[in-house]
Symmetry: C2
């Protein structure tokens, strides 16, 4: 009797699904026709934080927008011409690394010791291969070295002097540490150090930072995620870490699963934010896992992780991501995030502040 009733119930439920074609079904069919053309697209971030219009001059905003557009168009063109997702991510990040506007490469912030220690990582969604470097001081474009680690070493992650020896052995471009000196970043370090002293001394109001300046000393990574015409996903991240960092601190940017993740079955993700919370939340992989195991869309998964799980831990920041079907997401829980994207049709989106 039990089995009979279950069969009846199953038959009843099945019959509810055999309706005639609705307009929605027709639209669905059209979409699947279109999706036979290989899709592609790219998205980038230049850091999340307390980015407010009232703190930004028009000329500075213009400079950011121009650089974001240059970077995203560079990656998009590579994809359009049939290049790989890894190459598009690399060249897009190179543009941001070479600009003093972003906390990566040239514009890297200063550590407590007044040095610049850079981190980067890359992941190729086609074979889940990955490369990462941490704490390098003489590598002009850390994302290039991460790619060398992925392709030309048996390792995933190299750190410090050893990573630089490897860089020299594979011919990655090295520069004098002086290359990373920018006056504005050096002044940020001085201000934060003075502010710390102030917090101890309570006697120097002039050097005090606003709360958002202090918070944002943790931010400013750059990153990109791309889907190429061959159906391969890749993501990469590059950073100078946090201003005034000490003790050889490593954030999420070079951590596969936290700062960077890509998997052709799901999506490619690059993170930016308060690194400690992104490591503890395994943020980049968590978005992929929510898609793969729970059936969420990329947009749903990103919202769940960035708007619920990350703030619940006490963290903040954002991610950019693209899924295997070319859907693009730029999700953040901070006041702003430098960001840009371009899809297959060439639709350009550039953003700095919250919506």
């Amino acid at each position: 009797m039990k089995n009979y009733l279950l069969l009846l119930a199953a038959a009843v439920m099945l019959s509810c699904n055999t309706s005639t074609s609705s307009p929605a079904d027709v639209a669905q069919d059209q979409m699947s026709q279109e999706s036979k053309e290989p899709n592609f697209g790219i998205v980038l971030h230049g850091g999340a934080g307390t980015i407010l219009k009232e703190n930004m001059s028009d000329s500075m905003e213009q400079a950011y927008r121009q650089k974001l557009e240059e970077a995203i168009r560079t990656g998009h063109q590579i994809l359009e011409e049939g290049g790989t997702a890894v190459e598009a991510v690399q060249r897009t990040i190179n543009i941001l690394e070479d600009s003093p506007l972003f906390n990566a490469g040239k514009g890297a912030v200063f550590t407590n010791e007044g040095t610049n220690e850079l981190d980067a990582s890359i992941m190729d969604g086609s074979d889940l291969n990955a490369g990462a470097v941490a704490g390098v001081t003489t590598v002009k474009n850390p994302i290039d070295l991460a790619i060398e680690v992925m392709r030309n070493s048996p390792h995933v992650m190299l750190a410090g002097k050893g990573a630089e020896e490897f860089a020299a052995s594979v011919g990655t471009e090295l520069v004098d540490p002086e290359y990373f000196y920018t006056e504005s970043r050096f002044r940020s370090l001085q201000r934060i150090k003075e502010s710390e002293k102030t917090q101890l001394d309570h006697d120097d109001q002039q050097a005090a930072l606003t709360p958002w300046e202090y918070r944002d000393s943790k931010f400013g990574t750059v990153g990109a995620a791309a889907l190429d015409r061959h159906g391969n996903l890749a993501a990469g991240t590059s950073t100078g870490g946090m201003t005034n960092k000490r003790w050889g601190r490593i954030g999420d940017a070079p951590i596969i699963g936290a700062g960077t993740y890509a998997n052709n079955n799901t999506c490619a993700v690059s993170s930016t934010g308060w690194g400690e919370f992104f490591i503890r939340g395994v943020v980049a992989y968590d978005i992929s896992a929510l898609m793969e195991y729970k059936g969420l869309s990329l947009a749903e998964a990103a919202r769940e992780v960035i708007q619920k799980k990350n703030p619940a831990l006490g963290g903040d920041g954002g991610i950019v991501a693209i899924d295997k079907d070319g859907n693009i997401v730029m999700e953040f829980n901070t006041a702003g995030m430098y960001r840009a994207s371009m899809n297959k049709k060439g639709d350009l989106q550039i953003g700095i502040y919250g919506e």
Copy 2:
């Protein structure tokens, strides 16, 4: 009509579940009675690899078994007396770190430069706090330093000299790098270096390593996972890395999500194996995600990751884990894994080889 039929179907299915109590239900009730008593337990590993009985002397096997038992009993007693999962994991790992038998602490393997560079990480499942250190050369018990990073720094991961400065500032026990010299590990380095030369020269058969010796130069981490009487989970991992490692290579042991993960909602996991593949697979967090998002049991999730996903990537190794209900898993795809566990009842399991 559609809604009515769905309601009918739901009612039919619901009615199928209101049967009278079966013997299985009674057993279930008894189990849930028992589970009201807080459960606890602990599991450890001392590395996975090509561990075969024919390569092991009786006295050596005895030495391993004794040390594994001493370590697991130490952690178990802490839990029995109401101590925390973090403390149980720490003290269990300390025993393994202080023994020259395992590739962690005292018994750490040598890098290509003839130094010992140690990594460790810890995660507290109650608040998802975590700490990790990479590339330290003077810290007697790296797991202790990882716990200091978790508790007494705003960071999750510190590396190299900076991590040692932090260690000095919080009073973690430091030793002369000479402390980590063990003759057998130093001989392993020489043999591997000779073997590498052999592979280039093809002229020195005597120095050649067997394939399993070469493979296992990547292995030998120690780790533990525990559930305490307060319902909190924790996991920790400590390693000397791989023999002959160079370029400041960082493996999975200090990577939260890869080598170590703990979350009171799911499980606590410590990994051991070919670190690069464990990073790319985000192994420790993947097991937790399969439980949380896909509803798998700990045993199912561990089997999926270690017997399917990890070998599919080309990696090998194993994990130990305990879930929030006290279920213990020791899963590996290598010939053997040093391992031990003790549950609430005090049932002791010790293993070295495959079943």
